[in-house]
Amino acid sequence: MVKQWFKSGSPWIWMTGGAVSISLISVLGLLAMIAWKGLSFFWPSEVVQFELEGSISKQTVIGEVYDRELVPKTRLAATGIDVSGFEKEEIERLLIKTGNREYVDLDFRWILETDIKNKTTPATLAVFERSKNGNFYGYVESVIKDGKPVEGDKIEALHELVERAVDLNDEALDLQNGDIGHINYELERLRLKEKGYLLDNALTDERVAELAQERAELRAQYGVLEKDLFALRKQAKRDHVTVKDMRGEVVTIPMYQVLDVWFPNDMGFFAKLGHYFVQLGKFVSDDPREANTEGGVFPAIFGTVFMVMLMAVIVTPFGVVAAIYLHEYAAKNAVTKMIRIAVINLAGVPSIVYGVFGLGFFVYMLGGSLDQLFYPEAAPTPVFGTPGVMWSALTLAILTLPVVIVSTEEGLSRIPSTVRDGSLALGATKVETLWRIIIPMASPAIMTGLILAVARAAGEVAPLMLVGVVKMAPTLPLDGNFPYFHLDRKFMHLGFHIYDVGFQSPNVEAARPLVYATAFLLVSVIITLNITAIGIRNHLREKFRSLEH
């Protein structure tokens, strides 16, 4: 019976079916895991107070349970822990995020389950999100407003003062990046202008005076703004809060360092949900802090979107024209064959090769020449002769060219030839047919190609590492300073952010949830783009199928 079953070949069918199951499980499992890990990070988990004693001296540990795992007794013994008292073969241990980075050696620590003597979740435990040194966990002792402790409802006063400090900080930051940044930018432009005159031997006394006057004006403005800035900062420094930490010591935290405060053990489900969305919003809209391991990813989102849009503007005309050539004009000859092979190869060449080419050809050769021609006054600082967002967009445009070509060509081939013949028979020229009939009909296919190209470009990291991405860009490639688009600037990118924070940061453990969150963001954008593209394509297929009959 079994022998016959094997002879029939159905075991092999089961095996091949199993391969499909494995593929499906891994795809869906992977996506689900990224989504779970990325999204659960923002949920305010409860803060636990542990009383520990056993393999370590008696102490209190306060923190969030970050991870748990089972460890065999033998492995614990190898690390020098006395395991003689343990009954079970495997001991559970917990990874606790204790925060309070400046007061303890490590803000993450493993504790053994057997050491836990008592475990409580007091409602008065507060979590402080700070602009420096990460989170702080502890009990609020007193709130000091303008040097005097607040009487009455401490917590309400605390929330109020935190909000005030955050507002003041925001205002100061706006001032610093906005108006003061603008003045610095203008001063730099004046310096370059002067150097430019000097190089052209056109620096007349008149011009010197003019420049000096402009400079003086800017400096005067700067002085006023600087005073405002200092005043704001001083105001922000007014209040403090004192907190009792897990060592039992009372620590003073200046209010201007506090970004937010919450009491997770005292929150109901809806309060937590509200907090969750607030945190999610901050992640998307804030700047990163603490060497990118905390805060948001706004500049990375902005950089990615900006670069990808720039790339789309470059790649679309070329891709569409090439596809039209291949489908409508190309004769069946050797050149066409070679172009097709070129398209296939452009799609297959490793992305890092594009990066190398982009660095050598665009950045050093083209960029270097541009600098010599148009920006002699900036030397020796390169303007375009250094990696930047424009070169990144150009490099990725070549990389994604085949995607647009293949997709557009597919769309063109689905348009029934009767449509073309009809137009030509009515006396239209070929280009008129193309412009009025074919391209409008193929536009969803072009759109599909463009979306797929954008999705591909958004996820590509390797070439960008060579041609323009940086871990921390002080300015965005688009701002309020003339000429508004700064194509020479370096930019941040979500994919590179994942690589950088996950692998180059000093505190990988602390940064890991943030990396998952960023990864989820990137994956969801790319999957959405792809599904949209597939949807458009399918819709198009249906449409033309009905046209043929």
């Binding site: 992977l30 020229t429 994919g495 790319i526």
Partner: protein, 744 residues
């Protein structure tokens, strides 16, 4: 063109025709652009790579007469080859301009004002720029020609001067005051060491340390002297720039002294260093001073350096170079690189690079014998003194260390016990020699691709076959895009998961991975067998072609079981720690980020590529072929194997090729999921460094135009060619297949 299409247009036919022509021209140009882009990449990479394979060039620039040429003891040239200087045996230093426009003009003459007559002359290692005179009264005087650089009116102006780096007092080498016949010296940090042969044939080693007197503030020399025991005549003395080694050549023998501690000078080796049937004529230390170059009278120059042996570090002959068979063979070395030059009596100059064993250039540069030679600090010019003339040579020798054989063959580097394939591009030390072997990183690329393919090909092909041939079309519409969406997943995310999630997971649960490999196929078979035992009623309720849906819970269960069992298996069989077991019992090193992790992660990246193309190939096999086979009584499986797969095999081949192309060039996954160490080991538990990851790591730091930069471009070029071949072959096969199907 932008007018309202509803309104009749009044364009003349001519302008419409022109527009049509113009558009045709423009669109054709746009289409050709694609080809141009690919060619541009190809030729640009080639253009950057090409200079490293050019051999050196030496050109005569100009020469001028030198009056007292027989008196010249030493020469040198300033960094930008603007001023040359000649030191005479009497301590006179003449500065000449060697710039175009004022070539040969004497700029200045300075005098060292030696306290007594000079009896000998020596130069330091080229990069130190010191020259010294041995005097009749047993003392040594060290001088250094220097240039003060100023920029009056934005022009570079050089003012020559003569420095006395050890003070204007001569160093007392011999207390007995015998004249110095030969000597070698070096000034390193606060120590100056001199080894000297006196007129009465004693060989003295002396070390001078300047110490400031705490009370008077005067600098005093703390001197230690040792007499070295050398038999026979002394032909040559050499000292390494850091003063740790001193060499005394006596005819064909070289005494090697350890002079690290001046109070305990020790002879560590006595080399019989001549080539067979030849005698040594001169010796020199290579830049970095770990190598001794010995020239023989049969024209062979041999390189010796210290190698770790069973009996400690010993000088060994590493390689030799055939140079010219002329007398008066002399060896000169460069400032920083391992290039050396040979000069001879008939005016022939040879340029060689030691490590790459390359003869870079050879040719005649003067009529008579070359009396003296000096290389410029930037190694782009040289001075030769011959025929009473000083000639300036221009040397183009940017990448002597790179040759085709050095990139792909074993090379014996200084300090290594044996030749090897080594990639080590940078280091903190100055006299470090870059080691550029593409073998370990190419090996890493192939290894990573191989493990990825081992993982991906069985799964992807099986899944493709099932999806295309057995699966119900409803299910297929969902499954295919789901697997293909993985192709869109950024590799940086796969790499990040591999490095931070999968690698620790595998490390913790190694038995689970092995368990999965065994249990998954068994579990699938068992499910299949169990299925046949089910009552037909239930079986008929489930539509044909849903095997994979039935198997999903099975696979999940087996997965859970494997991981749950892992701990117990580990405790039971491996004392609770597989890693330790591997290291101690099997002697295997275990890296957390290893080939297994890369194989799985990159496998996932490759699966959708292979799956998608192979599925298309199988699916588009004409239905009448399989129907015919089935009608003749073959089973489903027989039809698949004998008819469908056979017909689709070129397509499957092309799918695998495409997958391989992708695996070879993948960057982010290998960058993040391996340790990026360029080792050559097939072990599945060790990492690797691939061409692509290597470029990503090192490119941002490499200096534009340097050998390192160009070699990274070469790596990119190699990748380009690799993938070009894979893709073109795959595409070609696919085209053939398409034509075949259309004729069926």
């Amino acid at each position: 063109m932008t007018s309202n299409p509803n309104k009749p247009t009044f364009n003349t036919d001519r302008s419409r025709l022109f527009k049509d022509r113009f558009a045709k021209f423009g669109i054709t140009a746009g289409g050709i652009m694609v080809l141009v882009a690919l060619l541009l990449i190809f030729f640009y990479l080639l253009y950057v790579v090409q200079p490293i394979f050019e051999s050196a060039k030496v050109e005569k620039r100009d020469s001028f007469q030198v009056a007292n040429s027989q008196q010249i003891a030493g020469l040198g040239v300033e960094e930008q080859t603007e001023v040359a200087y000649l030191l005479s045996q009497q301590g006179q230093v003449d500065f000449y301009s060697v710039q175009d426009g004022s070539f040969g003009k004497k700029l200045k003459t300075l005098n060292a004002e030696l306290p007594s007559d000079a009896t000998s002359f020596a130069t330091s290692a080229p990069f130190q720029g010191h020259y010294a005179f041995g005097l009749k009264d047993g003392t040594v005087m060290v001088v250094a020609p220097k240039f003060l650089v100023t920029f009056p009116n934005n022009e570079r102006k050089l003012t020559p001067r003569l420095d006395f780096p050890l003070g204007e007092m001569a160093l007392e080498v011999d207390e007995q005051g015998a004249a110095i016949k030969r000597f070698a010296f070096s000034h390193y940090e606060d120590r100056t060491a001199v080894v000297a042969l006196t007129e009465d044939k004693r060989v003295l080693f002396s070390s001078f340390v300047a110490e400031e007197n705490m009370f008077t503030g005067e600098v005093e020399w703390v001197v230690e002297r040792t007499e070295l025991d050398v038999e026979g005549r002394v032909d040559e003395l050499l000292m390494s720039p850091d003063t740790t080694r001193t060499f005394v050549r006596s005819a064909n023998q070289v005494y090697v002294y350890d002079t690290r501690d001046p109070s305990d000078v020790e002879q560590i080796q006595l080399l019989s260093a001549n080539e067979e049937n030849a005698n040594i004529v001169s010796a020199q230390l290579l830049a970095g001073a770990n190598s001794l170059m010995l020239a023989n009278d049969n024209g062979e120059v041999s390189q010796w350096f210290e190698v770790n042996t069973d009996t400690g570090r010993e000088y060994q002959k590493i390689r030799s170079f055939e140079t010219t068979k002329q007398s008066k063979l002399n060896v000169f070395t460069e400032f920083y690189r391992r290039t050396f030059f040979t000069t001879s009596s008939n005016g022939e100059l040879g340029v060689y690079y030691t490590t790459s064993e390359a003869k870079l250039w050879q040719g005649k540069v003067s009529e008579g014998a070359i009396q003296n030679f000096a290389i410029s600090p930037r190694s782009n010019a040289a001075l030769i003194l011959a025929d009473n003339k000083l000639t300036v040579l221009e040397i183009h020798n940017e990448h002597p260390e790179v040759t085709w054989s050095a990139l792909w063959q074993e090379v014996w580097y200084e300090g290594y016990p044996e030749p090897g394939y080594i990639w080590q591009s940078t280091s903190a030390s100055d006299d470090f020699e870059s080691k550029f072997s593409l073998v370990p990183i190419s090996f890493g690329t192939l290894k990573a691709a191989l493990y990825a393919m081992l993982f991906a090909v069985p799964i992807a092909l099986s899944a493709a076959i099932y999806t295309a041939y057995f699966m119900s079309s409803k299910l297929r519409k969902v499954v295919k895009p789901t697997v293909e969406i993985m192709e869109a997943l950024p590799t940086v995310i796969l790499g990040f998961l591999a490095g931070l999630w999968l690698a620790p997971l595998i490390e913790e649960h190694l038995p689970a991975i092995v368990g999965l490999l065994i249990l998954l196929p068994l579990g699938m078979l068992a499910t299949g067998l169990a299925w046949t035992k089910l009552p037909t009623k239930i079986r008929h309720r489930i539509p044909e072609g849903s095997h994979s849906i039935i198997l999903i819970p099975v696979v999940l269960l087996i997965g859970w079981f494997s991981f749950a069992m892992s701990e117990f298996v580990e405790l039971w069989m491996f004392d609770g720690n597989v890693r330790q077991y591997l290291t101690n019992e099997l002697g295997m090193t275990f890296d957390q980020r290893n080939s297994l992790v890369v194989g799985i992660a990159m496998g996932f990246a490759v699966i959708p590529t292979i799956f998608s193309i192979a599925e298309d190939a199988v699916f588009s096999v004409p239905k009448h072929l399989s129907n015919g086979s089935l009608a003749l009584g073959a089973t489903q499986w027989q039809t698949l194997i004998r008819v469908v797969l056979l017909t689709a095999s070129p397509g499957i081949f092309s799918a695998v090729m495409m997958g391989l192309g992708r695996a070879v060039g993948e960057t982010m996954i290998v960058l993040m999921a391996t340790g990026n160490t360029p080792i050559m080991d097939w072990s599945i538990f060790q990492g690797m460094r691939t061409l692509a990851a290597n470029i990503a790591v090192e490119m941002p730091e490499s200096e534009v135009g340097s050998s390192h930069y160009r070699i990274l471009f070469l790596a990119a070029f190699v990748l380009f060619i690799f993938t070009f071949i894979f893709n073109t072959v795959a595409e070609f096969v696919r085209q053939q297949l398409r034509e075949k199907y259309s004729s069926m």
